[in-house]
Every structure is written in structure tokens, then in C-alpha cells.
Amino acid sequence: MTDQRPIHSVVLVKQVPDTHNITGEVMTKDGTMNRNALPAIFNPEDLNALEMALQIKGRLGGTVTVITMGPPKAAGVLREALFRGADRVILLTDRKFAGADTLATSYVLKCAVEKAGPFDLVFCGRQAIDGDTAQVGPQLAEKLGIPQITYAETFVEVSADQIVAERALDSGSEIVRCKLPCLLTVVGSANTPRPASVRRRIERKLAAAPAEFAAVRARWPEFASDEQLQDYLNAHDLNIAVWTADDIGASEDQVGLAGSPTQVHKINFVVLESTESKTVPATPEGIAAMIQELVHEYIVG
């Protein structure tokens, strides 16, 4: 590819409960879940999305901006992004955003991406492990009016005005060429996300959003006031920017619960019960008896 230039990327990430490591401890007898037993983590495929953006930056130059919507504590994933090489991070937090379904979420992200400035590529993880919907990426692409490459596994090349990428599908794969700007949703098999760099972790350990200033000052008492800390963060480019609905010019009827057409009618806790259940000893006799039963019921034969 001939003409190359720096590429400006935006990566949308989410902090999620670690639903993949559900153990007997997390699940209670009545089939409910002990959510507190689940740690909050960086959504795994969002790390793959960030990695792809960082690789493109490494090759062509440019910037990587990472945006998340969530409660104030979601600043944790933004710090992780800074430690991995993001240039700029933005936290979208506002009570008005609460209760958003995927449509309302995509609208808020659209407002934020547009406010963040000109971009060439937008990256999302394919899906978040707490919902597994895989909807926000395509919904956002539609709202931004740009094409989408879902299930992106490899970028083959990026030039001044287009990207060539390989998509991983159940039935095979596809190589596509797409004009910039466009949005990619990235699958977990795309790459191995880099770990946080020790150097960056040390350099950027103070990165904080205003809601975290008290906690930062408790650990580093040399900052006498929030203002002093703020000045330091400004001077060292360690601000985690916080944007509210007003900041991004989002209209109230399209965010949060009000902007969510889907409503939860009811939730049923799954009480797992097999009709008849037997404990089989892990012995030759136990196994033989089980197989005998299965043969008798024509399950095995």
C-alpha cells in the first residue's frame, strides 16, 4: 500500500463482572448469584480491540483514545488502558446513563466519539461477557454513519483511506476491504493483548478522575488539596476526563432508562434440578453400573 499516514483510533471498552469464572461459591442454593464474589474486570475482547488499535498505532503512528461508559469506579479500566499505551482516556459517567440498554448505550457512545474529535477507526470488543449481546458495536456504527467490520481477527493493512481485515466467522473467514472511517468489532482470537507496561504503570499510577481524588490523596498525602492534585495531573497529562450527558450534548430522552426501548418484564432465577440424579462412584463398578443403566434405556448401545 502506498500512501500511509498516522491513524487516529477510538476504542470503546467496558468494565464487567467476571461472569466466566462462576464457581460453586458464587452460585447459591436457590439459584441466585452472589455478585460480590465476582471481581470487576476489563472486558476480555475489549483488550483485544485495544491491542489491535495499539498495533496499528505502533506501525503507522497516530493516537489511541479509550472511552468507557460506567459508574465512577469504571475509571479502573481506563487506568489499565493508560498502562498499556492509550494516549487519552475518557469516562462517561452520569446518573442519567443508568439503566441503558444497548440502543441507549450506543447513542451515548456516538455523542462521545463525535465530541472526542476526528477519527479514522473505532474499535469495540465483539461482545461483553455480562450480556453477550454483540449489539453495541453495530448500533454505534449505524449512529456514526460509518461501515462496520464485525468479528475482525486480523488487520492485513491500513492505508490513508482504507483498511483490509480478515473476519472470523463460524462458517469460515472473509477478507474485506473497507473505506475509512469505519468501526471494527474484534474477536478474542485476534491477538494476545500486551500486559500493562511496568514503566507506564509507574509513570501513570496517579492517573485519576475527580471522584477518586480523595483516595489518591489518602495514599499520597503530599497533595494538600484537590486543586493541587488537579494541577499536578494537568501538568503531567494524567487526567481521566469525565464527561456527563450535558458535556456530550446527549438529549435526555435518548439516554439511560428513558432512551431504552427494551424493558425487563421479569427475571427468573434458574433453579437447576435434574429430574433424577445419581452420584456415581469413580470406580470400575460404579461406572459399569451407570453404563448398564444407559444401555437399558437405549441411550447407549
Binding site: 464457581t23 468479528y151 427494551t262
Partner: protein, 352 residues
Amino acid sequence: MTTPNSIWVFIEQTDGKIADVSLELTGKARELADRLGGASGGAHEVVGLVMGHHVEALADEVIAHGADRVLLADHPELAIYRTLPYARVAIAEARARKPEIFLVGGTPNGRDFAPRVASALRCGLTADCTDLEIGDYTVKKEDKTYHDLLFQIRPAFGGNLIATIVNPKTRPQMATVREGVMRMPAAQPSRHGAVEKLVPRFEPDDFALEVLSRQMRHSTVNLKESRVVVSGGAGVASAEDFALLRDLANLLGGEVGASRAAVDAGMIGREHQVGQTGTTVRPRLYVAAGISGAIQHRAGMDQSSKIIAINTDPDAPMFQIAHYKIVGDVAEVLPLIIKTLRERSMDQRETE
């Protein structure tokens, strides 16, 4: 023309073959339409939206599986699925005809297409449903009951719950539905229906993406049809142990399945994955070896007739749905089962 009270199904086709899930959904849409017609007295129409090139012949198949009408967009630019041209046609037709319900198969293409369309129509979309019903929904705060809504039922929050989602105020009520959970209706070749040809109007930007090449993997894995599935999870620690799963599957005439953890760990290809993001299976026998039993996995196999679970953790959630619980290490228990089956078949040969 307008078609009030219609239930649409996105008919996904690849190289002229309709995806099973699209026909499963056509059958489900027929059921829902008959239920709604019976409830409100008004006729409800099932509409199949067929897009592609040289796909006229598919209309009859869609009608035979329960559709009253086929909207047929046949155009060279629609030959291969691409998000923007397909979404363009669907969005334009949905805006003009205002369907009540719009169902899409939860395939990779379906889950690429549906959110794009829902975002443009600003309607609610529920992902990866495992069941659909019709019912009433009361909002106490508004003191109002919405009648005959589509109940979109899906496992939620990774953990143990099943959510029923409704879209009371926006239309269409959109949902993607997992493959293999609705029964495939029997084709009725004598059914009649209307075929209406559409004239797509594209914009230049719709062609921003080109497909340069496609590689179809002709999967030799047929989990969906298999009578026996032997699956491994995080508790199957080595490639040797995974080979035991293959041995057992071969002995039982079944296929090897896997949990997402095993696929992510690189033990086996993604085409073997059972669960919410993989294949839904309903075999006569399901062996869950070293699979703890996250709901994403269980949702893809809990309809199995008999379940054998093997796990070192006696509290593994999988044990709660298993018919046979074996607390132990996969590397020890699987060889025992294999040995017992081999001896049995040798005994059989001797008696024959």
C-alpha cells in the same frame, strides 16, 4: 402496499441455501401469528424477507415453511451478505411497511445485521433469545397494560437468570434467536403465498466495504445432529486428555464438544463450542468432562436427554443438572468409562 400486523423473518441464505435458523423462525413466526390472530381477531401475516442474487427459487421454500408473503430483493449487489446493502433494503422496507415483529437468526451475519437495522429504526432489540411468547405487560407506574407483546426470553447476566424482555413502545419488536432452539417446521409444499419483488435503492456509501475473498470451512463437525456429545472444559488440562474425549466420542458414535474455556485455551476449534455463543445441542447423551457449568454453556445443552458430569469440584453448577454425577479427575474417570465400554463391546462380540 402496507401489511399491518405482520411478523417478519430475515431469511439468511448463503450461496442459495437458506440457513436452518431462518426456516425455524418462519415456523415460529407462523405460530405467533396464529396466536395473535386468535387473540385479537385481526389477521397476522408472516413475511419472509429474502435478499440475494438469483434467489427467486427460495421464495417457495419460505412459503412452504409458513410464510404468507415473501419480499424478494434480488440484485447483483446483494449476492454476498454485506451489512450496508442488506441493512439498506431492510430499513427502507420496515420504515414503509411498519412490521409488528422482526425476527433474525442469531448467526454471525444475523447478529451483524439486526443491530444495524434496530439502531436505524430506533427500536428495541434483544439478542440471542431462546424462547418467544406472546403476553401482556403491565407498567404500574403508568397504570397501563400493553397487550399481546412479544416476550423475548434469554439467559442474562452470565449468571443464573433467565430474563423476559419486552419492547412496549417501539416497533418492530426485534429479536435475534439462537440457532436450533425452535423446532424446524415440516415443509408444506401445498401452502400458498404472495411473492413481492422489491427494487433496492442503494446509496454510493453502501458499497464502502468490499468482500475480497471468502473461505468457507466445510465443517466436519455436526454437533447439532449428533446423538451423543462428549464435551471438555477447563478441567481437561492437556491435549492427551482431550484425545480421551475423542476416543469416548468415537466409541459412542458421537461428536466432541467443548466449553468456551476449552476453545479459548486453544484445546480445540471454535466449531466444537457448545453454548450460548456456540452450538445448541439436544443429544440423547451429553458428557460434560471438566466443565463447571456456566449458564452460557448450560443454555446450549440443558435439553439433553441424559447428562453425565465429571468434575473434581463437587459444587460445580453442572452437577445440578446432571443425571449422573461423578466427582473425580477427568484423566482418571474417562479411561474407566472407555475401558468399560470396550470390554462390553468385546463381550457382545463373543456372545454373537
